[in-house]
């Protein structure tokens, strides 16, 4: 029976499964991305960017499932994600690396009614190439100053019509399209990633690099502070330890009013601070004939 069924499968399908199986064996990392409603030309852009780092295949879920079986992978792990239209990405990068790489380049599209701006939307000064007509009132609504020159709409100065996060005025959409301004970002939505037996849901792939930077900084700072505390013999550390020791010495000297050229400033400051505190404490009752800083 199985043999008979297989004969009915078109040749291209067999070849496609064969190719997918090969890639599943070749690459350690597999990423499934949702391309429902994703513009084909943008997918093409991504494919270009990934050249040499990863391969993208758009194929039927059923064929991918077959390939998983043939490659000896546990298809049950992938099953929940094999719905809708998917692109399959094969790469040697680890899933987080791929995700960071994809996040690095911004894909943009034209605004549609209801969109929010992902970046500042500016109508630039100059000839719009649009014939003067009813469109002038739209420019007026957007508070863009124009004049008509040779029958064309001419914008007088660069005008911001939306800041990042602002809704883009719906009437601006056709103008922006005419001017070739794409203020909305799109990104490939990753459903799941797989590497070496580990399934990582897409939402876990988000990495905030600033957080990592902060953590590295904090870890280093902790280490540095600890090193200072134990006078770990590295010049950079001892510089701070010595400074701390000197400061300790000056504070102690100030406390016992031990006057030397190095400490005189600290000692007097301390005496002054005390004097003003006391003056402040009685300034409400006595006219000391001075200004007490509050």
């Amino acid at each position: 029976m199985a043999v008979v069924t297989q004969h009915k499968i078109p040749k291209w399908k067999i070849e496609e499964v064969e190719e997918l199986t090969q890639k599943l064996k070749e690459y350690p990392t597999i990423v499934i991305a949702n391309i429902e409603g994703f513009p084909a030309d943008k997918l093409h852009d991504i494919r270009k960017k990934l050249r040499g780092k990863a391969e993208i295949k758009v194929t039927k879920n059923s064929l991918f499932e077959l390939a998983l079986k043939k490659a000896g992978l546990d298809e049950s792990k992938f099953k929940p994600y094999l719905t809708g239209s998917n692109a399959y990405i094969f790469t040697n990068m680890n899933p987080f690396e791929l995700h960071l790489f994809l996040a690095k380049f911004k894909l943009k599209r034209y605004a549609m009614p209801g969109d929010k701006a992902d970046e500042e939307v500016v109508i630039p000064a100059g000839d719009t190439g649009m014939p003067a007509g009813p469109i002038l009132s739209t420019f007026g609504k957007l508070k863009v100053k124009t004049k008509v020159q040779d029958g064309k709409v001419y914008v007088l100065q660069d005008t911001v019509i939306a800041k990042p996060g602002d809704p883009i005025p719906p009437e601006a959409a056709p103008i922006l399209q005419k001017l070739g301004i794409m203020p909305v970002y799109i990104k490939l939505s990753i459903k799941v990633a797989y590497e070496g037996g580990v399934i990582i849901p897409g939402e876990q792939l988000e990495i905030n690099l600033d957080e990592y930077k902060d953590e590295v900084m904090k870890a280093h700072f902790n280490a540095f502070s600890l090193a200072v505390e134990i006078a770990y013999p590295e010049p950079e550390v001892l510089k701070v330890t010595a400074q701390k020791a000197a400061r300790n010495a000056i504070s102690l000297a100030a406390e016992i009013a031990y006057i030397t050229p190095e400490t005189v400033q600290a000692v007097i400051s301390k005496a002054m601070t005390k004097a003003y505190a006391l003056a402040g404490a009685i300034s409400g009752k006595v006219d000391l004939g001075i200004q007490v800083p509050q």
Binding site: A275, A279, D287, L288
Partner: protein, 69 residues
């Protein structure tokens, strides 16, 4: 600030801050003493726990550190 410095000098020398002592110190420093002010300062300082005030004055930097978010 002469009256304050003189008072602190007496305080740190563990001498009583009264009109006579304060007047003595101020005169020794060549300050022409104003009796009204003298009385007022002595009276006001009687109401104050000087050690407490001085302690807080020194405690300031710590307070600031704690206030840092």
């Amino acid at each position: 600030m002469e009256y304050i410095y003189a008072s602190l000098l007496l305080h740190s020398a563990k001498k009583e801050i009264n009109e006579d002592n304060l007047k003595n110190v101020l005169s020794a420093a060549g300050v022409a003493v104003d009796d009204v002010r003298l009385k007022a300062v002595v009276a006001a300082l009687k109401e104050v726990n000087i050690d407490e005030v001085l302690k807080n004055a020194t405690a300031m930097p710590v307070a600031v550190a704690a206030a840092a978010p």
